[in-house]
Symmetry: C2
Subunit: 211 residues, 2 copies
DNA sequence: GAATCAACCCCCCGAAATGGGGATGGATAA
DNA sequence: TTATCCATCCCCATTTCGGGGGGTTGATTC
């Protein structure tokens, strides 16, 4: 059971070296290598590869954009970016667009094949510098440092219902309390969050990941 | 210029082996090793380490919770989790809570020291299986696969204003159009998004990252 | 030239939300 | 015991939304 690959890279040299490399290992099967991303989706649909190798720098539609399109069409297909430098920003954008990992063209053949095996086993290869960028992004989204507005349990329940799009009346029914009580809670919530309207409250809640 | 470390691990064996390991390298300086996380923040404030090593499994306040607290107090301080198994879920939660990376206790001393050097150089060590989890999380947040509701440019402007908490009247002023025009746009938006109220529209917009 | 669509505007009317007040009982802390 | 806080409920008045209709203009497409 070999791993079927498809390669997009504008450098003839790279295409030939990788082709040679894979041909010497029975468990890798390079189904095709192409100079541009122009017909990538079509070629992928035909070849049905297990992994896509995509140069990040490509003429025409560049690798980063191609990743977005390919990932939209084949969400389960692992896409690995190829780069010359450890270019954190562009790699990060590729990852955001759906790439699963990336490899340096300069890595040794052994490392490269190892990484591909890791992918086929469900992992994702990533260098420490990229990992750092990804981590910082991940942590920004955690609610830890978000302002604490000291909402009570009840107020959080009400706020959560607001975010779900419920009206005062529906909230009253859901929480089995009176309409006026809901209003009281909401008044308090608005005070604590420093907002005046439902939309502001919902917006603040979702943006700052309260609740 | 050596790297100053502080270690939290309930296993005496680990504390002693790591202590021995670091003592044999001049560029590592273990400032202290502790059995519990109880006074972690205090100890860190005193020792001012460059890196925190934290066992993920700890009696009392466990490593994952401790990370959240420590990271809140010392946001710039790199925290590295120590685990016995490559436990993707708990490691992932630690990372969300502010840990920068993690190491397997079973890795070779060389690998361990390498990883610590990488951290001090601004990177973050991460195994392929964790990287995969992190990647999938990252991609979920990209707007790529979000439903396309075919909003016009104007409608997007109006929706964006709604999300900012503006009232119909304020939107009319801001976009320099009539109040009734704003209403017309909003009616159309509700139709396209399949919602009935402002809060639903705002909620859907933020959750699905439209705009 | 007819059809379509985006952007703009108008009216009616009922429902929903908001801002201002005040009140009660219960639990908890000082 | 008094003071505070929370959750519950009430009234009045005003503003804002939302669903239903209607329309004109200009650009583009067929």
């Amino acid at each position: 059971m070999s791993i079927k690959l498809i390669l997009f890279d504008d450098s003839k040299h790279i295409r030939e070296s990788l082709s040679l490399l894979f041909s010497t290992y029975a468990n890798f099967d390079l189904a095709g290598s192409y100079e541009t991303t122009d017909r990538a989706e079509e070629l992928i649909a035909i070849a049905k590869p297990d992994v896509v190798l995509m140069d990040i720098d490509m003429p025409g539609r560049n690798g980063i954009d191609a990743v977005a399109d390919i990932h939209a069409k084949f969400p389960e297909l692992p896409i690995i970016m190829l780069t010359v430098f450890d270019d954190a920003d562009r790699v990060f954008n590729s990852l955001r667009n759906g790439a699963l990992g990336y490899l340096l063209k300069s890595s040794s053949p052994t490392k490269l094949l190892d990484a591909l095996l890791e992918i086929s086993e469900g992992g994702a290869p990533m260098s420490p510098s990229i990992a750092k960028k990804v981590m910082l992004h991940l942590q920004e989204e955690s609610p830890s440092k978000a302002g604490n507005y000291q909402l009570t349990v009840r107020e959080k329940e009400v706020l959560s219902s607001l975010v779900d799009g419920l009206s005062y009346k529906m909230i009253a029914d859901k929480l089995d309390i009176g309409f006026e009580t809901v209003r009281s809670h909401i008044k308090k919530i608005y005070e604590k969050l420093h907002v005046q309207t439902m939309t502001e409250a919902v917006s603040k809640t979702l943006r700052e990941r309260l609740l």
